[in-house]
């Protein structure tokens, strides 16, 4: 079975995000970019499936600017077998919307004959949480989202999902799209020998046009703004004063 893992290049989670002065979005020029952390978890899970003999090949795919090649190289250094870069934008500020990404991924899945797609549950830049679900609809495949545990049992995937108030275990028919949550695994870091090996692994470059997909935006970003700065706290001597203060502010 081939496992396809879409990976997105996003602003590094350690970077203090700044909104562009015209409010059109987040400033990404000269900012450290990394693989979306949920996608790292998906790559890790795919590699584990291969190590366990469940998967034969792990293919990483990234859709976006040319620089996403670095993100793919990270996936290869972690242990993916090969990578496909679909160049769909020239400007780092141009985000490809979930539907366009899902349409391209659907084509790649068909072309590769993949049997499982492992994706991050969402990208930490725009938190859309949509690509996996859209892909499942486009392909007519089963979907299991927010996975915190995954087992492949014959024709089925048994997935534990993190839901409000606890865990839910579901069984879906393969082929399937599984979107992964934070607690599924702890991704490995690329060892130096694997970094050197990754250099020689194949990385194909395609364009959105090669798949006949129009990636022009359908959504309009009206405004992006910084979160309000936190107000200074106040230390109260006892519970009574706390309750009184909360009442005074109309919170309780």
């Amino acid at each position: 079975m081939k496992v396809l893992v879409p990976v997105k290049r996003v602003i590094d989670y350690n970077v203090k995000v700044r909104v562009k002065s015209d409010g059109s979005g987040v400033d990404l020029a000269n900012v450290k970019m990394s693989m979306n952390p949920f996608d790292e978890i998906a790559v890790e899970e795919a590699i584990r499936l291969k190590e366990a003999g469940t998967a034969d090949e792990v293919i990483a795919v990234s859709i976006g600017v040319k620089q996403a090649q670095e993100t793919l190289r990270t996936a290869l250094a972690m242990g993916a077998d090969r990578a496909i870069l679909v160049v769909a934008a020239d400007d780092v500020h141009q985000d490809i919307e979930p539907l366009a990404v899902a349409k391209i991924l659907a084509k790649v899945v068909e072309e590769e004959g993949a049997g499982l797609v492992l994706a991050g549950k969402q990208a930490i830049d725009n938190d859309m949480n949509a690509t996996g679900q859209m892909l499942s609809a486009l392909l007519g495949w089963s979907q299991a989202t927010f996975a915190s545990d995954l087992k492949i049992e014959g024709e089925h995937a048994v997935v534990t999902r993190e839901v409000d108030g606890g865990l839910q275990t579901i069984k879906v028919k393969m082929p399937a799209i599984v979107t992964v949550d934070l607690r599924l695994n702890e991704p490995r870091y690329a060892s130096l020998p694997n970094i050197m090996k990754a250099k020689k692994k194949p990385l194909d470059e395609k364009t959105a046009a090669d798949y006949g997909i129009d990636v022009s935006p359908r959504l309009e970003v009206v405004k992006t703004s910084e979160p309000e700065t936190r107000q200074a706290g106040e230390i109260v001597p006892d519970v009574d004063t706390l309750v009184a203060k909360l009442k005074e502010k109309g919170i309780i």
């Binding site: 060892s191 130096l192 250099k199």
Partner: protein, 390 residues
């Protein structure tokens, strides 16, 4: 001139950062207090394949250069360890690894290098003696022929990493000074077991770098086997210098990492701490400027160090660059750690804030492995054509 890192170098830095962050400042603070060796951290570094970055691929290394080694060490040290972690790189891949890879026998390479890379074996190096430091050619430790091997007698001081090492690179006189023309002749290198009859050591109580002990070592008629010689008999001095030369690049990389960490601790504190009214102390220029100054010094030292590393990798002389980089980096790292303490006021004196440990550790590198004065002596002669002053 190309200052752009390639994809692999970026990935290595990323891996080094991740490994380093698993062992953050609190880990090192605890070990510093216990005077315990960072076993788990070193193992993780070995597991990630970083130890053997510049050792040959056939023996478990990655066959890369000193540029990569410098980038990796800086990032590891910046994540929490400070400058002392670079010492473990000096001891193992440099003192152990380079000496074996370049001058060892095929058997030594095949047996020891893979174990060095995997972390199963550790090394230390014994050159300095009570009366031979900057003037190391005055060393008195002698190896006299007995049968197929030698008998070693003498005393060493400040030998770092003895208790956790299996092997020690010993520098000894094999031909007495009276029978040679120059003091650089008649010196040989041996790789011997640290646990051996007649070899004893006691740890020195010291200011910093507490996670790696430094010891006095005594050789009392220690037997050395014929196959424990590394390099050429009586011609070990220049081979030793060849091994030690890269040590400077490693030291500097560690200092730059330590400096970056101190800058971050200082700047983070200055951004948060408010003393008079709502203004964070970081808004005062007297707080900002010294940090900015040290940032500039560290960046300059880093560039010079990478230049030295790149020269080394390309087979060019690099002594002036590596010495000058180490001079600036050791001063800047010491100064920025001191400045971070100042910025923290009383809290800077608390061990919880880490600046004091970085300061204690960085201080060492202003006189070791080579002192500031000896570097200035070197530059005066080699780069300025001035007469030798001593």
């Amino acid at each position: 001139m190309d200052f752009i890192l390639n994809e692999e170098q970026k990935l290595m830095i990323e891996t080094a950062r991740k490994v380093g962050e698993k062992f953050g400042p609190d880990y090192w603070r605890a070990l510093d207090a216990e005077k315990a060796f960072p076993t788990e951290c070193w193992q993780a570094i070995c597991d990630a394949g970083l130890t053997g970055a510049m050792l040959p691929e056939e023996f478990g290394g990655a066959g890369l250069g000193m540029v990569e080694v410098a980038l990796i060490i800086e990032e590891l040290c910046a994540a929490g360890a400070g400058a002392t972690l670079a010492q473990i790189f000096m001891l193992n891949p440099i003192f152990g690894g380079v000496s074996i890879a370049k001058y060892g026998t095929d058997k030594m390479r095949a047996e020891w290098l893979p174990k060095l890379c995997s972390g199963e074996m550790q090394f230390c190096m014994a050159l300095t003696e009570p009366d031979a430091g900057s003037n190391s050619l005055e060393l008195k430790t002698s190896a006299t022929v007995e049968g197929n091997g030698w008998r070693l007698n003498g005393q060493k001081i400040w030998i770092t990493g003895v208790p956790q090492s299996q092997k020690m690179l010993v520098v000894a006189r094999t031909t007495p000074v009276g029978q040679i023309e120059k003091k650089t002749q008649g010196i040989s290198l041996f790789m011997i077991d640290t646990k051996r009859e007649g070899l004893s050591h006691t740890a020195i109580d010291k200011l910093g770098t507490n996670t790696i002990p430094s010891s006095q070592v005594f050789f009392d008629n220690v037997l050395v086997q014929g196959d424990e010689l590394i390099g050429t008999l009586d011609k070990g001095w220049h081979q030793l210098l060849d091994v030690l030369n890269t040590e400077r690049i490693v030291t500097t990389a560690g200092l730059i990492g330590a400096g970056r960490l101190a800058l971050k601790l200082g700047a983070d504190y200055a951004n948060e701490r408010r003393v008079f009214g709502k203004t964070p102390i970081g808004a005062y220029q007297s707080v900002q400027f010294p940090l900015a100054q040290h940032w500039a010094e560290l960046e300059a030292a880093k560039l010079l160090n990478l230049k030295a590393a790149s020269f080394f990798d390309n087979g060019l002389p690099f002594g002036s660059e590596s010495n000058a980089a180490k001079l600036i980096a050791s001063q800047a790292a010491s100064a920025v750690a001191e400045r971070a303490m100042q910025i923290m006021g009383g809290m800077g004196f608390s061990k919880e804030m880490h600046a004091e440990r970085l300061w204690r550790d960085a201080r060492l590198f202003r006189f070791a492995p080579v002192s500031e004065e000896m570097i200035l002596n070197y530059i005066s002669m080699a780069n300025l054509g001035l007469p030798r002053s001593y």
